[in-house]
Assembly symmetry: C2
């Protein structure tokens, strides 16, 4: 940030009164330009038939991580809820018909100023269709997941949590809620 978005004057880094960290402040109009983390929200679309559990993944048609696989997810928009965002992204990226269940994972990625959240979802049919941001959409059982080609550590971690819980659910337990912090060195 170089210029004030309110008055176009060059901004300067300074610590405002009653604050304790440097902000971009406009010396002309006084506006303080706060910068805060963003939410990336998506779903885990699950297809369960005859004892087999499969999860829908999208092959990314965009950077970053073009060609790698991800759960459908994207930046939450103003005026929507986290559930709205998960449904919208799943529809946009995978054209998938889902029912959303509870929030399953929340993963902090502080070095890129993001918090990722994933909802469990039931995939209602296999009529999915890659949207403009996806090269391909497919469903994978745990053993079929391309673990070496997963786009982001938050997705790999959520998939690990999901398949662990899925086995427990098969033994009569419930799905949990999973919080996890990713740092620069986290591979998955």
């Amino acid at each position: 940030m170089k210029f004030c978005s309110v008055c176009a004057h060059p901004v300067a880094l300074s610590i405002p009164p009653d604050d304790n960290r440097p902000r971009f402040v406009c010396p002309q109009c006084g506006t303080i330009h706060y910068q805060n983390p963003k939410m990336v929200v998506g779903s885990i679309p699950v297809w369960e038939r005859e004892g087999e559990t499969r999860v829908l993944l999208c092959k990314r048609a965009i950077e970053p991580r073009h060609g790698f696989w991800t759960l459908p997810a994207g930046f939450m928009e103003n005026d929507e809820t986290t559930a709205d965002a998960a449904l919208r992204e799943t529809h946009e990226e995978a054209g998938a018909n889902i029912i959303l269940h509870g929030l399953f994972s929340l993963l902090n990625v502080p070095h890129v100023h993001q918090v990722h959240m994933f909802y469990r979802a039931t995939l209602l049919d296999l009529n999915y269709l890659a949207g403009p941001e996806s090269l391909e959409v497919s469903t994978f059982s745990e053993s079929q997941i391309p673990w070496d080609e997963i786009a982001f550590p938050t997705v790999a971690r959520t998939l690990r949590f999901f398949f662990e819980d899925n086995k427990k659910v098969g033994r009569g337990e419930k799905y949990g809620f999973h919080a996890y912090d990713i740092d620069k060195s986290t591979k998955e």
Copy 2:
């Protein structure tokens, strides 16, 4: 937003290629200025002694809702995790020594472009002290909570969820995780 923060040229609302909603776009340098919801994160500092459960609240010394009571909470900053934010805000607003437990509630407030989150916490001692953003800090049992003077619906709702769960925990159950959507008409 009137001017580009990268080059100071006036921005215009337009739908970028491969997008589906209007964004502030700079016609000079091409920067798309996305605007996304912010996270407000805090804690529920709990003091339990001799069968009584009390929760710490802060009386706000700042707008909005000056003079009303809130759980300690504030905007999450870049480079921190949600748990970091909850600890920092509790320390800044209440000078309180706490141990953080699991995420307890997540409340969408789409009409103000916010998501609020509260962690359960154990208050370690009663040596709290109002910070610059608080007029007063005190602990309240359920019957003492000033329900008509709670600053925000997300705080009232989280307190209701907390005391409901607290009774269940007394009967051997576990604390849950609570998601809730607030709209303009929600009083608490």
